[in-house]
């Protein structure tokens, strides 16, 4: 690696360590440095820089024009490095990215133009163009991509998940010149898919025998967080009242009353033997015994307690109402939530792609 190439790569590596906020600038900077490296014939460093620029995804990624420009120069660098397969792959990618962008004979060698022409001949002329980051309301909003072709192929377009599973069929038919494919942000069941990586995949219909190819537009789907209210917990058992009086509690109330009454009546004879205790104690003892009996019956042993049944019923119904109300509000909020769709750079694979 020459000194200049080393300097270019070193500068790029340093820029890698910068905060993510500068990622968009970094992708553009890599692109500029890569093109500059091509112009001074520092092909190895230039290839590295351009690949780095094209690999940036998400918000910091190059726009379609810059991505096409970067791919064009990458193709030229690979031709200069005698990496024909890589050059052809870059040329095919360029055809998909922007069919209007092509190497001009003023700036590029005849070999570069020849590779590009070969790629154009062998690449299905199907393109996909997506808007920038789009925020839609699932169900009512739409995300539109434009499929273009000059050969009127029969195609199907679907949205797939990261695992390749089809999330939603979007289009099935012929592309005459161009067709807008719309996705309302819902899956086949009418639900909003979870955030993650998806793709719009365009493939030729089975009856199209002009060769197998797959055009893929990566999508990153984000769902801005929605504040939902946690469902109220079920009332704890401690809040419920017994619906039937139990004997255990009743006896537990009666026994202290009877014991205390007995003590009041009996103990004076033990404490003051031979003394004639007054009958006043019988009044107190009797009162305590009556209190114990009253406490016993206040527990309604073995009987239904309608007031408690009603109280518990109201408690349960109130909780159920609160759960239903909270669920309804949460569902409303989730329905109103938006979906952010960030398309990436499209790619094309064919049966003869290296």
């Amino acid at each position: 690696m020459t000194r200049l190439s080393f300097t270019l790569v070193l500068g790029a590596v340093v820029s890698l360590s910068l905060p993510a906020v500068t990622q968009a600038q970094s992708a553009s900077a890599f692109l500029d440095q890569g093109i500059r490296a091509y112009s001074v014939r520092e092909y190895d460093g230039g290839a590295w820089l351009l690949r780095r620029a094209l690999s940036v995804e998400g918000a910091g990624a190059l726009n379609t024009n810059d991505a096409a420009r970067g791919t064009l120069y990458l193709m030229a660098i690979e031709v200069a490095r005698n990496q024909r397969d890589s050059a052809l792959a870059a040329a095919r990618r360029l055809v998909v990215l922007d069919p209007r962008m092509r190497p001009d004979d003023q700036s590029f060698s005849p070999q570069v133009i020849a590779v590009y022409q070969e790629a154009r001949r062998s690449t299905p002329s199907v393109t996909i163009r997506a808007p920038g980051d789009t925020e839609i309301k699932p169900g009512s909003g739409v995300f539109v991509v434009r499929l273009g072709s000059t050969t009127a192929p029969e195609v199907t377009a679907v949205v797939t998940g990261a695992d390749g599973r089809v999330v939603r069929n979007l289009y099935s038919g012929t592309i005459r010149d161009s067709v807008d494919v719309r996705w309302n942000g819902l899956d086949a069941s009418g639900n909003t898919p979870p955030a993650g990586r998806y793709s719009i995949v365009v493939t030729p219909a089975a009856k199209d025998r002009r060769g197998a190819w797959t055009l893929r537009l990566p999508l990153e789907i984000a769902r801005p967080s929605v504040d939902t209210t946690p469902l109220p917990p079920a009332p704890p058992d401690s809040l419920f009242r017994p619906e039937r009086g139990d004997y255990k509690s009743a006896w537990q109330a009666l026994i202290p009353g009877v014991v205390a009454a007995g003590a009041i009546i009996v103990v004076p004879n033990l404490v003051a033997q031979g003394e004639q205790a007054s009958n006043a104690r019988l009044i107190v003892g009797g009162t305590v015994a009556l209190a114990g009996v009253a406490a016993f019956f206040s527990h309604h042993p073995g009987q239904r307690i309608p007031a408690n049944e009603q109280y518990n019923h109201t408690l349960r119904e109130t909780w159920k109402r609160n759960v239903a109300e909270t669920s309804r509000r949460n569902a409303d909020r989730l329905r109103g939530a938006t979906l952010v769709i960030r398309p990436g750079a499209p790619s094309l694979t064919t049966t003869d792609t290296p």
């Binding site: 537990q252 109330a253 026994i255 202290p256 009353g257 014991v259 205390a260 003590a263 009041i264 103990v267 004076p268 033990l270 404490v271 003051a272 003394e275 004639q276 205790a277 007054s278 006043a280 104690r281 009044i283 107190v284 003892g285 009162t287 305590v288 209190a291 114990g292 406490a295 206040s298």
Partner: protein, 212 residues
Amino acid sequence: MNRALALALFAAATLPGAASAQHWNLGVFGAPQIVHSHIDGSSSRLTGTVFGGEGTLVGERFSVRLWYAQGNVAEKSDSGLDKRLVVEGEALVGLRATQWLTLWVGPTARAYTLGETSQRWLLWTGRASARGTLLPDRMQTYVELWGALSGSVGDPSAKAGGRGADAGLELRLSSQTPLWGRLGYRIESSHADALRETVESITVTVIYGFPQ
């Protein structure tokens, strides 16, 4: 003296526990009293009423209880000769053995004037008091039994003994108030040589705060 010192030390040790009190209560009471007094074979029956106050500091394990009463008792066929001014008091420290059982120890004193002379009973007592709930936070009963560990009466003092009991019902006056009412029956019998006194009381108490 040694006993007093030991009690003072015990009280000092328990007070920090009581200081971190879970709760306390104060009460005032009136108590009709019947005194059966037997001196050298002669008996007399005196009646009257005492009034007083009490307070309890209840800690996690230990409690402190003070009780004081004062009043007059007299013979029914009162000739004016046997009318007594009565003063009673207790100072107890307690150990909460279980949720419902507390063990107490401390002095209880009863003194009365009889004409120009006075008589004083001082008993060191050990007590056990139990409580049972009839309706949670509304109504409960209690029973307390005690016996004298040692005691003295008169001047010059003679050795004395005794035992007693207290039991009754405590009722919260309303669910919105911290006031409780207590109806209790209290009996104590003290004796020394040819002297024996039995005191019966029905106490009606109003208490501020949750009774222990």
